[in-house]
């Protein structure tokens, strides 16, 4: 029994899921409608979907020992473009608009990836630069203009409330992304190569892995998913102003770190990152319900990130010690 509990806790995904569950249960005790009402249930599932999508893309990038700070600006830009298309060309099929948003995101991600992988500039610097550039493009394009719910077609907005078997469509979309990327990272050669590259980039090059291609691929994926998240933003909020997606890139990185994705690459899963994203969003919604002030809400998020990193360090030290004992017993055998 003790053993299974220990094994479970050693899996970061399970540990974070437990914290998430505890947060939901505690909040539900305080206010039943947080879970047990049509709205509560829907919000519980649908609010994390945007951050989950971003965190999945971010994880793919972090695994290769890079980071993508531009996703907030990409999200804002694509969300605005989504609205613009409906205004300029009413009647455009929703599928085409979604594809356009994903496409634009992918192109913006490609720019990041090429500069990082080909010009060999650190991703932190490159994506910090494009964070401002993409936001600047957005501001220039939008001006003081903004997209209002009335500009968007009804069947597009209806996606925000649509459900299949009492599961919101947006949550299903996020889950589909999660499963697809999770499968790719775990089962495909390309996915495993991304882990290898993040684990030791020099060894990866010496080994002959297609480092440039994989890193660019990770950035394109992150950009494309930020594009998809832009659509989700437009659906969910109906209005897109120039502040859309401001600062959300740090939440995406935070979600990944909380979910056990090593910031120096090579380990972690999108499952962990997705649960981390759900935890961040849910805690942000739960704290006001239990009556905790704004200030503390931010501090709790920061505390979670620090706790995650401390936990990683403690586990790493314990693992090292265990490996030492293991080596001893091996030499005894």
């Amino acid at each position: 029994m003790k053993h299974t509990a220990a094994t479970l806790l050693r899996s970061r995904e399970a540990a974070v899921a437990l914290v998430l569950l505890a947060a939901v249960v505690l909040t539900a005790l305080k206010s039943e409608s947080f879970v047990f009402s049509a709205d509560g249930w829907r919000n519980l599932l649908v609010t994390p979907s945007m951050l989950v999508i971003l965190a999945v893309g971010q994880t793919a990038v972090i695994i290769t020992r890079n980071v993508d700070l531009s996703v907030g600006s990409v999200l804002g830009l694509t969300a605005y473009m989504t609205g613009r298309i409906f205004i300029e060309a009413p009647g455009t099929p929703i599928v085409a608009v979604v594809a356009a948003a994903i496409g634009l995101g992918a192109v913006l991600g490609l720019v990041n990836g090429v500069v990082v992988a080909v010009a060999k500039v650190p991703a932190l610097v490159v994506t910090l630069g494009t964070l401002y550039i993409y936001r600047g493009v957005f501001l220039t394009w939008a001006g003081s203009d903004r997209i209002n719910a009335s500009d968007l077609p009804d069947d597009f907005l209806a996606l925000g409330n649509a459900q299949i078997a009492s599961v919101p469509v947006l949550s299903i979309a996020a889950l589909a992304v999660l499963i697809a990327v999770g499968y790719h990272l775990y089962y495909s050669r390309g996915g495993r190569e991304m882990y290898a590259i993040g684990s030791d980039p020099d060894a990866a090059r010496l080994y002959g892995l297609p480092v440039t291609r994989r890193v660019i691929g990770a950035f394109v994926l992150s950009g494309a998913l930020a594009g998809l998240a832009g659509v989700v933003y437009a659906v969910r909020y109906g209005t897109v102003s120039s502040g859309a997606g401001l600062g959300i890139e740090l939440e995406a990185v935070g979600a990944a770190v909380i979910g056990g994705v090593a910031i120096f690459g090579g380990s972690g899963t999108v499952w962990g990152a997705a649960i981390g994203a759900a935890l961040l969003v849910t805690i942000n919604r739960a704290l006001p319900v239990v009556g905790i002030s704004d200030f503390w809400q931010r501090a709790v998020v920061g505390g979670l990130i620090l706790a995650a990193i401390v936990l990683d360090r403690v586990l790493a030290l314990r693992r090292e010690r265990r490996l030492g004992i293991e080596r001893d017993t091996r030499s005894l055998a």
């Binding site: 499968y183 790719h184 089962y187 495909s188 050669r189 495993r192 190569e193 882990y195 290898a196 993040g198 684990s199 030791d200 020099d202 060894a203 990866a204 090059r205 010496l206 080994y207 002959g208 892995l209 297609p210 090593a262 090579g266 380990s267 693992r319 090292e320 010690r321 265990r322 490996l323 030492g324 004992i325 293991e326 080596r327 001893d328 017993t329 030499s331 005894l332």
Partner: protein
């Protein structure tokens, strides 16, 4: 040089390569036949590793002939070379620590169930088969992180032999392996040769070359010297070709007056690493620490120096207690430590040689808190000259140097602190005979000047030749303390392989 035979797998001739102002290769050459094991020998900086890296596609040659399987080739990446059928085991293992052992073996070519699905079960199974072939027990599911250097080396070997290669190059594969593992590796190498593959074997151990190889090519100063059948040459002849002169091989320690106790270690214990370690080292004395790889020798040294902590026990230098886990205090007290893995622990490889040598002196060199490159160069120059570090400029990055020269830089760095106790871990690992003798002479000189020296070495001849006293470590315990005149290969090996009392292991 004779015309290369038409069936040669690999032909390199007159190959040139320069890095900046340094000519790594002026006229490198080797001709490797299928179905043979070809030794490549040469001093440090002779250009062996550069030659290998050109074949492997890491570097591109500036000029000369490069033919593989009868075709002129020009690899632009390691992937090219690999695709052509060339596998290389590099001197330093290149593993992915966050991935499983099996994934390290099969990265990029994992067995698949379908186009998008890796078959992990098959991957583990293939890994087990490979390890069986090598006769080792390693769990393919465990992470590569935390493996001993010997195990990492075994994974590199397994990786290379699992590739269907026409040419396998091994750059000092045996440096970290025990006797049994070396024997198994040789058996596998011979089996590959008998399948008609070509192998290139780089080693500084002549016994291995004579035991394993058919042909030997000697390089010196970036140029081809000679190729001979191993059966028709001798160790002395090869050594003479390598250095261009006769060398005294192992420099035995010159007797020095033994002084007061410098280092006293009492009851040092660290769970999972070592137990009840007590010993003393006196001024002018070289104490050798022998034992099998993984016995805990390096761990003891790291704990004494203060890099790692320990659970109980004490370390005294000149009678003063040395605090645990505080290398700065150890350096101040007069300790110096030259670690085993010079690339990872001993050097800032991207920094200049001068900066590396001066790095532990910083405080003494700084003027008003600032450090000028000129003061670094000045401090470094004296030591570099004394150790005959072969490099054209001290402001070049350390990463461009050969292994032997890197080792000299690490030594210079620590000697510049004028320590009273020097701990060296595998001081001559991966170093050619010429430099080896220089390192031995240096250690002997230092002891003669009254320095206490602790030398960890896997090479029995080195320990027996150099040490006044041999401490043998087995499974984390000191199992013998043998004086110079009683130390023989037999007494040391018996203590190193002494099986543990079962009640203590439980």
């Amino acid at each position: 040089m004779s015309e290369p035979a038409p069936e040669a797998v690999l032909v390199l001739d007159e190959v040139r390569k320069t890095f900046g102002a340094t000519a790594a290769l002026t006229s490198g050459g080797i001709t490797v036949e299928a179905g043979s094991i070809h030794a490549l020998v040469g001093e440090n900086g002779a250009g062996k590793s550069t030659l290998v890296k050109i074949v492997a596609g890491v570097h591109r040659r500036d000029g000369g002939t490069f033919r593989f399987q009868g075709r002129d080739v020009d690899f632009t990446s390691t992937a090219d070379a690999k695709a052509a059928g060339i596998a290389v085991i590099y001197q330093e293992p290149t593993l992915f620590p966050d991935l499983s052992v099996a994934e390290n073996l099969f990265m990029g070519r994992q067995p698949r169930k379908s186009a998008h699905r890796i078959d992990r079960a098959a991957m583990y199974e293939h890994s087990e088969l490979l390890f069986q072939r090598l006769g080792v027990h390693l769990d393919p599911r465990r992470f590569a992180r935390g493996l001993s250097i010997a195990d990492q080396q075994i994974i590199e070997i397994a990786k290379a032999i699992s590739l269907d290669t026409a040419l396998l190059i091994m750059d000092e594969p045996t440096a970290a392996l025990s006797g049994v593992e070396v024997d198994r590796l040789f058996a596998v190498a011979r089996a590959l040769r008998d399948e008609g593959r070509a192998l290139v074997f780089i080693s500084h151990r002549f016994e291995e070359i004579f035991a394993l190889c058919d042909t030997v090519t000697v390089m010196r100063d970036g140029a081809y010297v000679a190729t001979q059948a191993v059966a028709e040459t001798s160790r002395d002849e090869i050594v003479a070709q390598m250095v261009g002169r006769e060398v005294a091989e192992l420099f035995p320690k010159t007797p020095a007056p033994i002084g007061d106790t410098v280092l006293r270690v009492e009851g040092l214990h660290s769970t999972g690493k070592f137990h009840d370690v007590s010993f003393e080292v006196r001024a002018g004395e070289i104490v050798g620490i022998a034992g099998l790889v993984g016995a805990g020798r390096s761990e003891i040294a790291r704990a004494v120096f203060g890099v790692d902590g320990y659970d109980s026990g004490s370390v005294h230098l000149h009678g003063e207690a040395v605090p645990m886990r505080d290398p700065q205090a150890s350096i101040k007290a007069g300790m110096a430590f030259v670690p085993e893995d010079r690339r990872l622990q001993g050097l800032v490889t991207e920094s200049s040689i001068a900066r590396n040598i001066a790095s532990v002196l910083r405080r003494g060199l700084a003027r008003a808190g600032f450090l000028s490159p000129r003061s670094e160069l000045r401090a470094a120059d004296a030591w570099a000259q004394r150790l005959q570090v072969k490099t054209h400029a001290l402001d070049m990055p350390a990463t461009t140097m050969s292994g032997g020269n890197q080792q000299k830089v690490v030594l210079a760095k620590w000697l510049a602190t004028e320590p009273s106790l020097l701990i060296v871990d595998e001081p001559t690992r991966g170093i050619d005979v010429g430099t080896k003798a220089e390192v031995h002479r240096l250690l002997s000189d230092l002891a003669g000047q009254g320095m206490a020296v602790v030398m960890i070495s896997s090479e029995l001849a080195e320990v027996l030749g150099m040490a006044d006293r041999v401490l043998v470590v087995c499974e984390g315990r000191i199992t013998a303390d043998i004086d110079r005149d009683r130390a023989t290969p037999e007494t040391v090996m018996r203590a190193a392989t002494q099986t543990h009392r079962p009640e203590a292991g439980a």
